[in-house]
């Protein structure tokens, strides 16, 4: 049958090959837009999770490194204050009769000094209050609690896992987009080759490629 594809069927009806070509071009365009949207969304979420994870890592570092000096100074000060009293008492116990009065007097002085120093050390190493002049961020770091830091570590790990998950989704979406690009090339090739065997092969491979792209894009969604 000699068919005029422009005017032969009801004033310009197309052949099956041409219809499939047009339908696949249209579906490929929609698939590209949908997969690009999926890719962009995955990229956005991955980047955000990655940034959150990175910043939480910095929070952990700050909390550990920033809270330590104050508490270790406090411990050191209290230890030195208490040791004054202990050492003075030990000296009294170990002194002979000729030095007893002196050591007893020193012990009394050291004992008073020790009590006072404990109060001073606690005051010097107390957490700065809002009216201390210390900025809120530094106050927050000085007050970092190991228990809270553990929660931050868990949150940081969760963000890293999330970034990895969305990264995998993005990778799949990019692969699906690549398949759509291959589909577009094959459809263009089929259009150039026309309805012969090479054109039909190109069209069939394009359809398979497009189906694979949609399948791969859909496989990224549950992640």
């Amino acid at each position: 049958m000699d068919l005029d594809v422009e005017t032969g069927l009801g004033g310009g009806e197309k052949t099956a090959f041409q219809r499939w070509l047009a339908v696949l071009v249209g579906v490929a365009a929609v698939a590209a837009a949908l997969i690009a949207t999926l890719e962009a969304d995955a990229d956005r979420r991955e980047e955000h999770a990655f940034v959150r994870g990175s910043r939480l890592s910095l929070d952990i570092f700050e909390g550990i490194a920033g809270a330590g000096p104050r508490t270790s100074l406090q411990a050191r000060g209290l230890e030195q204050a208490l040791s004054l009293n202990v050492e003075a008492t030990a000296r009294v116990a170990g002194s002979g009769p000729e030095l007893f009065d002196l050591q007893a007097a020193r012990a009394a002085a050291e004992s008073k000094a020790s009590d006072r120093l404990i109060q001073i050390v606690e005051r010097m190493t107390a957490l700065p209050g809002p009216d201390s002049g210390v900025d809120p961020h530094t106050r927050e770091i000085l007050a970092a609690d190991p228990v809270i830091l553990t929660e931050v570590v868990l949150e940081q790990n969760a963000q890293v896992d999330s970034a990895e998950r969305f990264g995998t989704r993005q990778d799949r979406a990019i692969f699906a987009l690549s398949l759509v690009a291959i589909t577009a090339v094959l459809l263009g090739l089929a259009g150039v080759m026309g309805e012969g065997r090479p054109g039909r092969v190109a069209l069939i491979v394009a359809a398979i490629s497009l189906a694979a792209a949609l399948g791969w894009g859909a496989a990224a969604l549950p992640l």
């Binding site: 049958m1 047009a22 249209g26 100074l73 002085a109």
Partner: protein
Amino acid sequence: MSDEDPRESPPERATPPEREGTDTWVAILLASAAVVAAALGGRAALLSDRGSDTYTAAIRQHAQQAASTVENIRYVYDDEAGFALRVTISEVRAEALREEARGARGLVRTALLEEARAQEQVAEIVSGASLAATDEYRLEDGGYDLAARLADVAAENPDLLEVDPDAPEEEAFELARHASIAISATVPVSLAFMFGALSQAYPSRRRWFLYAGSAFLVGGFIFGVVLEVVL
């Protein structure tokens, strides 16, 4: 089907005037869809790029802030406060020894005063090693105001005090969301493209496909414009 090679070009026929008009509209629809999709994609890429840069700025600022904060704390509580503590201990001991010496006599009194003097000398010598152990930071009841010293050390770099990494992170989040929405606006445009392609495949329904395609194209365009105005 004929036995002729289908790849051979069919004989040229004149296109009916009605089809010629719709052909033009199909071409306009497809070209417009391509242009709008490219514009939306380009805009999304720009926004996404700005978002990435701003996210990087947030991390950079946070790292600067963290390094500065930790270094200030370490400097005051590790380097300076150790000397301030040493000075405080000597001052308090000297004071307690002098107080005890008031009630003592003879050699005991002399020994207590000598030791008090020695502690005062230690305090005087060590205080020169630390800016935290100066009268500026001395507390009324003894010791030194390390918090005030920390505030002063931090104030030496006022730029770092004003750093707020949360702000760029929030801005980057919004930019990335904006980019994501801009990309999603290409979906209706792609539907316009699809209907344009279908109108080529099904000439008998071409008009309806053209209407649908045009509607999606206009919808996608309006979506893109609204996105720019509202977000």
